[in-house]
Symmetry: C2
Subunit: 187 residues, 2 copies
């Protein structure tokens, strides 16, 4: 007889716990490598692609086509606005990761959510990028994220979920803590 | 008589230097605020939008439509693969920012480039996200970026540009250094 699978917030919790059990037995299964390529087009316009990755012990080729992202700057930053700019993509990444962390950990605890929305703001002084001063940093000085959650769960529970999302989110970790990046020029 | 505008690598260097001169006179012009919103759809699928921002002393409403980004996880990470995942978006952001920094600073120095490509890899152990161990971090343990540049400029010059791109890139700064993020739950 097939066991009934439990789904909360659209997350298959039975499979989630199955994955955890599998990784517990064989920790190497948890190691992933994600990838992107980028091609300069013109001026501040370039194009990034995301397709294959390594995970769960093998090359994953389940994606038939690459996701393609135009990146550019708006006119005021000397671009032609053919896509969001790179620091806006950071907010996209952070918003998605906090949301998924919140949803998945709520599901694991059996907490049902009806709606989750967030808005993000990041303060950036372009004098850092332009090399005009060392008094300001080049990246965001501050990022603010505001969540709005619709659920029957008590407010304290929702507040705990917002804390847990930050504690578990990979992108929150990448942004708030130093991540080593090695850049090389191919010969 | 109109002064001839100088364009290198598709970057209007005359306007770039004009912008720097303007900000030098009035540093507040350099302060930007970028934004994103996110809406959970189902399971690991959510949607981020990027449109307006504040910059150069005013609300910028030059974008008529929002850029919309689907974020999801592939099947092996319990999603339906309706978009790149959040940590892949981090690589998209980093690739675009390093590329634009390289191109713009090359242009400012009058160095012409014919082609710039890069590939990025990030190592991530999902046990951190799953809360299975505190021995691994939740985000990328390492990110590697490899540039391939086509140009008549000497290799030492290209190597300097790769260093300068890292020194000036906002996203490189955000990823390699701690960035404060404040998350709140709206009442």
């Amino acid at each position: 007889m097939m066991e009934q699978e439990r789904v909360v917030n659209g997350v298959n919790v039975t499979r989630l716990f199955g994955t955890i059990a599998t990784i517990k037995k064989e920790p190497g299964i948890g190691r992933f490598q994600f990838r992107a390529t980028n091609r300069w087009i013109n001026g501040t316009h370039n194009e990034a692609k995301v397709k294959d990755f390594f995970g769960a012990g093998k090359e994953d080729d389940s994606r038939k086509e690459a996701y393609v992202f135009d990146e550019d700057e708006p006119a005021v930053l000397l671009g032609e606005d053919r896509g969001a700019n790179p620091v806006e993509y950071v907010l996209v990444a952070l918003s998605g990761c906090l949301t998924t962390s919140l949803i998945a950990h709520a599901a694991a605890r059996g907490i049902r959510l009806d709606a989750v929305e967030s808005r993000l703001e990041g303060d950036l002084d372009v004098r850092g990028f332009l090399g005009m001063t060392d008094e300001v940093r080049r990246g965001y000085e501050n990022i603010r994220v505001t969540f709005r959650i619709k659920s029957d769960a008590p407010r304290e529970t929702l507040q705990e979920l917002v804390e847990l999302a930050q504690k578990r989110s990979p992108v929150f970790d990448i942004v708030t803590n130093p991540t080593p990046v090695k850049v090389t020029l191919e010969t």
